[in-house]
Amino acid sequence: MINTSEILQTVHMITEEKLDIRTITMGISLYSCITDDAKQLYQRIYDRITHQAEHLVSVGEALECEFGIPIVNKRISVSPASLISAACGDPIIVARAMDDAAKATGVNFIGGYTALVQKGLTESDRRLIASLPEALSTTERVCASVNVASTRAGIDMDAVRLCGEAIKEIAERTKDTDASGCMKLVVFSNAVEDNPFMAGAFHGPGEGECCINVGISGPGVVKRALEKEAKDAPFDVVAETIKRTAFKITRVGQLIAREASTRLGVPFGIVDLSLAPTPAMGDSVAHILEEMGLEVCGCAGTTAALALLNDAVKKGGVMASSQVGGLSGAFIPVSEDIGMINAARSGALCIEKLEAMTCVCSVGLDMIAVPGDTSAATISAIIADEAAIGMVNSKTTAVRLIPAPGKKVGDEVEFGGLFGRAPIMRVSPYSSERFIARGGRIPAPLQSLKN
């Protein structure tokens, strides 16, 4: 029998410390929809998604009600659109079908407008990347991603250049909303096939017909546990406390994932052990780092603190779930974390420090607003730096930059809701133009030769 203090602890985690399930994401394969007829392609995709995900939102809401835990997002990821649209030749059709199906099913985002180009670009991949500005400025809920590098394949520098140009163009087309289109595009190195988190979610080519992936959250719970149980204690105690907390959070994720999978009649995919912050007070990854004794996130010691946090979350969580996958680690999206926002605003946190932090945690330079006059080459070069970190360290890294037109260092952009707001961060004023103009491939590192 569960005792009173355990019950109250759980209730307290949910009500006071903002424990929630960040997302239930249904991955849907669209391979069966492929045809060269544009009209038919649209219809098949729309029907496939709306049929498969018909009950996703209602089941999610029922689970929230019955288990008393918020499930913030219900989302869908689909097979990479560059593969699905290759026969038809027009990727925009896929974007339209995805957007309309997302609206019909009531999910707030649908991911998978994706090209996997780490080793080279097919004609279809080129068309998809070229269509990103149109797709992201004329649809509402479609999220896109491009995988430009991997440990096995190296970095496709042609794709890196194209992505930098696409990001600038998206920013221009959505300048009325401070380049909000850029929030829906993630450029990856070592992208994972079962990531439930947007904007980078897609249903990988190695996945089955359909599955349920769940992303957990709970930075507030971790911070509170450190305050209560590890105040000024040595790091061994800090790590143990985080592990215990991560275990509890993940068990809830596992429970919800199993229930959702049973009720929807769809196989359970993975639980993603991530600490995903929101701009709400008490839901910040930066504040966990500060609780460890840093005056402000970004000061010396931040990378070490984040490394400990990231590792302890995984160690605690991995025992709590039968299938762990996705990105699994701490996220550091600047605009979505009140602690990061404040640190960036005060100048304590800069892009270079964030880049160092991405070496030891999940994902990468995420939700960072940069000056509107940042050149496409500089953006591409930042992507290349981040991709190199992912490639060499055999981990996922990503870039989601927002070059807000007309904005300069000192300004802020406001995205609203879970996306928060971002102070414009300084980027290096020196040119990477000649570096990016080279094109070609950066060869895979020696660590790719594992066989």
């Binding site: 569960i2 009173t4 355990e6 019950i7 835990i69 809830v252």
Partner: protein, 91 residues
Amino acid sequence: MEKKNQAVVTVVGNDTIGIIAKVSAVLAAHDANILDISQTVLSGMFNMIMIVDISLSEFASLSAALTKLGAEIGLEIRIQRSEIFDAMHRI
């Protein structure tokens, strides 16, 4: 594993007369059977935990009725399936 069909009701707020009576009435009206109650009042704060059998209840309407009651008498009343507590605290 057999489904337990148990839920945990937690009630937190300022102590007034008749809280248990009112909560129990809602539970009875929705065919939920009380299995266990523990209750404390600490410096005027009322804290109650009930374990209830909800095999015969319609969860959504029971939950809505408890939330409504909570709003009426100024208390926070939550009902959650017991599995979430088992998952978090038991291996």
